[in-house]
Amino acid sequence: MIKANKLAYEYIRRDEEGNVEGIIRALDGVDLEIKKGDFVAILGHNGSGKSTIAKEINAILEPTEGTLFVNGLDVSDESKIWDVRQSAGMVFQNPDNQIVASLVEEDVAFGPENLGVPSPEIKQRVAYALEKVGMEDHRGSSPNALSGGQKQRVAIAGILAMKPKCIVLDEPTAMLDPGGRREVIKTLHELNKKEGITILLITHYMDEVTGADRVIVMDDGKIVMQGTPREIFSKVDEVKSHHLDVPQVTELAYELNKRGFRFPPGVLTKEEFINALLG
C-alpha cells in the first residue's frame, strides 16, 4: 500500500531576497512499508517529522531524496498527483479548518465533486460515507452546530466519499474532548475492520495506539522503533529515551515491577493489568 525507500525531505528557509537561510532535514532516510488493511500508528515528539511524512504520502510535499509509492503510484510523478490524493485521503488536526461547505452533506460531496463523479453517484457516496461515520442524521446541519468529534467524523466522511484505499490522519483528536476522541478512534477501527481501509494514525495519545496493528516511533526525521504495541511498550526505557510516554497502565506495571512485582512486559489495557494482578 505504502512503500518508502530512503525517503528524505528538507524544508528550505529563505530570507527576503530568496537566499537560502537554513535547511531543516525533517525526514532523513525513512524506509517504511505499510500493507493493505493495516492499522498503523505513528508516534514521535514535536518536530520529529510526523506531519511531514503524512504530507509526503498525500503528495502535498515532494520527496527531496528517495522514493515513495502509494498504492503503486510514485508520488513524485506530477501526472499521478490526483490519483495519489484520491487513494490516500488525509484528515487534519483542526476540524474547522478542513470543512469547506456550510452544510454537512455538501462538504462530504466536495471531494467526489472535485473528482468529477456523476451527480447520482455523488449522492450515493455521501449517504454511504455519512452512514459509515454515524452522521447520517446530521446531513442537513451546519458544521458550526456540531461538536468537535462530530466535525472530525464529517471530515472523515468527506475523505471516505472519495473511496480511498488508505486514510492518513494527522493528530485528528488533538483538539477534541475525551468523548470526541473515543468517537473518532472507534470510527477509525470500524472503517479498518469492516471496509478494509488502511489507516495511518498520527497521535500524541498513547491510549489511542494500543489498538493498532503496528506502531512506528519517529525521532528527528528517522524511524527509531517499529513493532506491535506490545513490543514497543515493553521497552519502556527506550520509548522514554525518545521523549515519549507509555500508556498509564503500562507505566504502572513497569514501576511496580521495579518493586518486585512480576507483570509481563508491555501490559496495555486495564483488563490485562487486572488479570495479571489476580492471576
Binding site: 488525509m90 469547506v100 461547505a101 456550510s102
Partner: protein, 277 residues
Amino acid sequence: MLRDITIGQYYPSGSVLHRLDPRVKLFWTLLYIVSMFVFNTFLGYVVAGVTLIVLIKISRVPFKFMVKGLKAVWMLLIFTLVLNLFMTSGEVIWQWKFLKLTREGIRTAVFMGLRLFFLIIGSSLMTLTTTPNQLTDGLETGLRGLKKIKVPVHELAMMMSIALRFIPILLEETDKIMKAQAARGADFDEGKFKDRVKALVPIFVPLFVSAFRRANDLAMAMEARCYRGDVNRTRMNPLKYKQIDRIAYLLQFVYLAVLICADKLLAPLLTKVLPML
C-alpha cells in the same frame, strides 16, 4: 453581541419563492433593480409597488421581519429624504431662514425614498428566500457565460461560499479575543476615540494571524481533497430549471412590459386628463 450580525439571513417558510431556482431570483432581482431607473411617473411606482407587495405575500415572509433587519438602512433612507427635501431648487412653498421647501423637493424626496425602499426590500426578499449556498450556486451557474471573457466565475463563487462558512467562525473568535483582552484589563467602551481605536489593535492582530493560519490550513485540506479549481468538476445537486422557473422568467418580461406601458403610454395620457399628477 457580534453574533447578532446575520449575513444573507434566510427565512424558511417553504413558499413558491423559496423553491424557485436561485438563478431566476437573481435575474428577477437584477431586473427589478434596473427597472427602478426606467420609470419616473406616479403610475410606474404603483406598478413596481404592487408587484413587490404581491411578491412579499407569495413569499410568506412577515413584512415586520423584513423591516427589522434593515435598521442601519433606515438612517440612509432618512438622510436621503432630508437632503432631497431641502436641496432641490424650484417653486418655494415654505421657508424658514435658509431652509427652503419646494414643490419639486417634496416630489423628488417622496419618489427617491420610495425607489430606495423598493430597492432594499426587493433585494432582501431575495436573500430571505434563498440560502447562501443556493445563492453562490446560482451565481456560479447563472454567470457561467462570463467565463468566456475570462471572468473567474467559479473562483469568485467559491470565495463567496468559503467567506460565508468562515464569517461565523471568525466572529466567534473575535468575541473570544475581546473577552480575553478584557480579562487582561482592556477597555473597549470608554475613553477617547483615539484610545478606543488603539484598544482594537490587540484584537485585530491575533485575529489576522489566526485567519491566515486558517486560510493556509484550508488551502491544504482542499488540495488534499483533490480540489483543482474548475477542472472537470461535477456537482451533487446541479441546478435544473423546472416549469415554474420558466413561468417566473416569463412573468419577469410581463412585469417589464406592464411597467413600460404604464409609464410611457398610460401616464402621459392620464396627465392630460388629470394635470395635477
